[in-house]
Amino acid sequence: MIRFLNVGKSFPGGRSALKDVSFNLERGEFAFLSGASGAGKTTLLKLIYREIEPSSGQILVNGRNVASIPSAKVPFLRRSIGVVFQDFRLIPRKTVLENVSYLPRILGMRQQERKRLAYNTLRRVGLAHRMSAFPAELSGGEQQRVTIARALINRPEILIADEPTGNLDPELSWETLRLFLEINSKGTTVLLATHEHGYVRALGGRTLVLDRGRLVKDEYLEGHVGDIDSDSAEDVEDPARQPTGRMA
């Protein structure tokens, strides 16, 4: 589904963000992308939906070489990938419903159909009651869920999330993770970047670890409730610990 072959990425000025990264993520798989801040997680995710292009190597998404897709076709690649941005990237002047239904609008869906789809997706993330609100009226957790709803609305084959729990309290973080696992259980390939090792250790599963741009580990971890750091320890009873997808 997602294949990285010796991928490198350097930015102007010579700073190397990724070095010789190779891995393969199968269809329906769930994987954590772990590493400290600045390890290259966001860069790696951006390469998948071609916000940036690799300096070397190849990236295959659904068998297509992402770097060789013509610019005019990139929007079609992005429509097949749901992206949950770390900083939400919601449109401030649009309501929750309008933000979520933006992609169906691009696709030319009828208003009624768009609204129904957006409403159902918002209900799925528990935000149907806030559909008329504007992003500024929402809490960080609610904004995060709007972003997830927007990423999910087109039933993408791939869902990538960049630090989706970074701005959330432990309780909301668990809720969000549970949602990703639920999405994964329905066949969506999920790649979730996080620097919070506690969640990774608690949930276990496939984990790709980046360190200063290099993929230093690609392993399957057993979930260990006891390893969770103190911030999230109180929430480990969450059913998210029992994923039903192809996580492990």
Binding site: Y49, E51, A72, P75, F76, R78, R79, V83, F85, R89, L90, I91, P92, R93, Y102, L103, R105, I106, G108, M109, R110, Q111, R150, N154
Partner: protein, 297 residues
Amino acid sequence: MLVRIFGYFVSEAAVSLRRSWKVSLVAIVTIAMSLFIGGTFLLLTANLSRVVEEWRDEARIVIYLTADDLATEGSRVLEQASEPFWVTAVKEVSAAEARSRFENMFPSVRELFKDWEEEPLPPSLEVTFDPEVVGGERVDEWLASLRSDPAVVMVDDDRDWLRQLEALIAILTGLGAVVGVVLLTAAVFTIASVIRLTAYLYRDEIEVMRLVGATELFIRGPFYVEGFIQGLLGGLLAVGGLYTGYLILNPRASTTFLGNVVVDRFLAPEVLLSLLLLGSLAGLFGAVLSLRREKLG
């Protein structure tokens, strides 16, 4: 589906116009000014051209004869004047009739000739001709021979001042075109700047649109429509201004000869539509120009 997408462009453009109405107003007024000035030239030249066409149909060549010659030499000149095939009629105007015409035309100065013993104005022959046929060297030769005739005081050819009027119209048309193009170019660049500024204001939003899979056309479409609407509104403002000016000036101007000539009729509907279309296309062009090299977002 296309209708829905176009509807989205229009609604987004309307939101943007409302949101940044002050800068949009600058663009609209700029384009309105250029079209108003261009339209004013069109109004003047259209009215002048119409008058010239009417006068061309009524144009004559008047051969003024020496006094009393209408009875003696007049018949010879009359015969010479009637010869060419382009001449449709020759009318004799006696000195008395000429004076009578003058007094009717200028009643305030009719007392001027009251005590004159002789007729003040010469008799004449009024030659009407087919304006479609008349012209060329043979006419000039014919006029030259009449002018050299000792029985002829003067030959007044209406076509001389019609030609001068046509030259004036050509100058006005050229001037209008130059001024219009210069102002329209300025308006296009103003719209381009306004659209670029708007796109800059929306840059974060545009980035999000792009990342969730919007095509370039979907992102740029609302800006193109916004430019088009700005141009259209500018055109409507210009047409409204021209019509208001016409309504104000026409009743006052009709009492004067010049006024009657220059603002007698308003612009034809097709010309007004052309102005609106020109404004709209200028706006659209400005938008396309502003986003041509922009990597939005």
